[in-house]
């Protein structure tokens, strides 16, 4: 089976700064693929290029055979995107956020309403249905972002740091959801700093640092290779990316 997503020699320069320096990866159908790296490694930049929100400086990404350069619209119909930065619509309530967002995908109102209500229940947002976004806690906002990402029944789910800033309960709930969706065969790209999270959820992962891939494989393989099977993925991560602070 051909991979769902293929990135080849993907590059992004912001003026002088090279944020993504020619990376290659493939994501297979139904797998949860991790993109790990310290702050400023280029994870969000990669995600933005994949979601057609940022033009590439070089290379290409394809989703289901469509290229971001040639058919961004076609790709965007297939993706569900949960961004790192909160961008829910502050002018609308929780429910209306989902309804308005579904319109962007040409989903008819009756169907959108059904899906929105189902997602609101699934993500335990029913108490907040009519509340404005500013009334939600950080955890609820993340949950709503995740619900919003699923409203168009995406083929591929993109989660950019879905659990950052969440308490352990909310984090576990998001993990549960990701696992559940994997059971249903959804292909997922997940970026995170929580190595524990990657170890738990990801079938395969790449570690990037300063825009380059420094290692890739299954969590088990990486622990075997670098620590002879002893220790955690976090130790591998620190060994590969060093202990100094990033993006300062």
């Amino acid at each position: 089976m051909p991979p769902v997503i293929t990135a080849s020699q993907l590059r992004k320069n912001y003026g002088e700064l090279c944020a993504v320096a020619g990376i290659d990866f493939e994501i297979n159908r139904g797998e949860c693929f991790g993109l790990l790296g310290p702050n400023g490694a280029g994870k969000t930049t990669t995600v933005k290029m994949l979601t057609c929100a940022l033009p590439l400086s070089g290379g290409d990404i394809t989703v289901e055979g469509l290229s971001v350069a040639k058919d961004p619209r076609g790709i965007k119909y297939l993706l569900g995107v949960c961004p790192q930065e909160m961008n829910l619509d502050p002018d609308f309530s929780v429910l209306k956020n989902l309804i308005v967002y579904s319109r962007y995908f040409d989903i008819p109102y009756a169907e959108a309403k059904g899906r929105a209500e189902e997602l609101i229940n699934r993500f335990h947002l029913h108490d907040k249905l009519d509340r404005p976004i500013e009334d939600l806690s950080g955890g609820l906002k993340k949950r709503l972002l995740m619900a919003r990402a699923l409203i168009n029944k995406p083929r591929v789910l993109i989660l950019d740091e879905p659990t950052t800033g969440l308490d352990p309960q909310s984090r576990r709930q998001i993990w549960e959801e990701v696992r559940e969706m994997k059971k249903h065969g959804l292909t997922t790209l997940l970026t995170t700093h929580y190595i524990e999270e990657a170890e738990l959820l990801c079938d395969r992962l790449v570690i990037i640092d300063a825009g380059k891939i420094v290692e890739q494989g299954t969590p088990r393989q990486l622990i075997e290779k670098h620590l002879e099977g002893k220790g955690s993925l976090e130790d591998v991560f620190l060994k590969l990316t060093g202990k100094h602070l990033r993006d300062e």
């Binding site: 912001y14 979601t51 057609c52 929100a53 940022l54 033009p55 961004p72 619209r73 965007k76 119909y77 993706l79 995107v81 961004p83 930065e85 909160m86 961008n87 829910l88 619509d89 502050p90 002018d91 609308f92 209306k96 308005v100 967002y101 319109r103 962007y104 995908f105 040409d106 168009n152």
Partner: protein, 264 residues
């Protein structure tokens, strides 16, 4: 980034963005509906009734009109301008910079061009709404003649597109929200005062008349006034042509410029 590409990237999905902005206006409808209706009443009281008592008849196009009658069509044009230009100038700036609305929409099937065309459409809708509301008030005061005044409605929609495009361009070029004071000071206020809104341009020095004819509002005022007075004539097609050409040009420039801020 060529012209063909920008045009080709605009689709029916622009209406989804339009609908989003209209929905916001409907949520806060009291602040969106009442001012366009109330403002012209204030103007009529202050300028028409108050100031008008001291102003003799104004001669325009070979006839004498009392001041209130002269002023009324100008207020319609000004209302269209303010409501459409501010919707994109401040509204789109806030959605871009503070609310991150466009960041969310750009990962859905809408293209940057769809989003921005939708912004211009919703700006124009606000202008059309304000123009219609003011025309209604003016009609109630018996200051508009029919059927020629009906021309004002499609004209307000067109001019709304033009001013919304200007507003979007200003939003696209301002680094900070305070920078938007500059186009207000240099462009909007001079237009408000010197487009034949409050007094005929005939008596002004030649250079002011020339400058006024570059300002887009002047041409809107010309047609609106002729329509309200029931005195439309063929030469006004030049004013219309000016508005059409400027609308197309500004919409293109504004979308092109704003696109570079939306997808960096």
């Amino acid at each position: 980034m060529n012209e063909a590409r920008i045009l080709r990237n605009i689709s029916y999905r622009a209406w989804h963005m339009w609908r989003r902005n209209i929905d916001v206006s409907l949520v806060t409808w009291k602040t969106n509906v009442v001012p366009p209706l109330l403002e012209p009443v204030l103007y009529i009281l202050a300028f028409g009734v108050g100031l008008g008592a001291y102003v003799q008849k104004i001669s325009f196009d070979g006839r004498a009109y009392d001041y209130l009658t002269f002023l009324a069509p100008g207020m319609i044009a000004v209302g269209v301008m303010f409501h459409s230009i501010f919707e994109t100038m401040y509204g789109a700036f806030i959605r871009l910079r503070y609310q991150k609305t466009f960041d969310a929409v750009i990962t859905t099937p809408l293209s940057a061009e769809d989003i921005l065309a939708g912004e211009i459409l919703s700006g124009a809708t606000k202008g059309l709404f304000a123009g219609t509301a003011i025309l209604l008030i003016v009609t109630l005061f018996g200051l508009a003649s029919y059927p020629s005044s009906l021309v004002i409605l499609p004209l307000a929609a067109l001019a709304g597109l033009m001013f919304a495009s200007f507003g979007l361009l200003f939003a696209a070029t301002a680094p900070y929200i305070d920078n938007l004071n500059l186009p207000i000071f240099l462009f909007i206020n001079p237009m408000f005062l010197f487009s034949g809104t409050f007094f005929p341009l005939d008596g002004m020095p030649a250079w002011i008349r020339l400058a006024a004819n570059i300002l887009p509002l002047t041409h809107l005022v010309n047609i609106t006034r002729a329509a309200a007075f029931g005195r439309l004539h063929a030469a006004l097609l030049w004013d219309l042509l000016y508005i059409v050409v400027l609308t197309a040009t500004m919409a293109y420039i504004a979308i092109r410029k704003m696109k570079t801020r939306l997808i960096k």
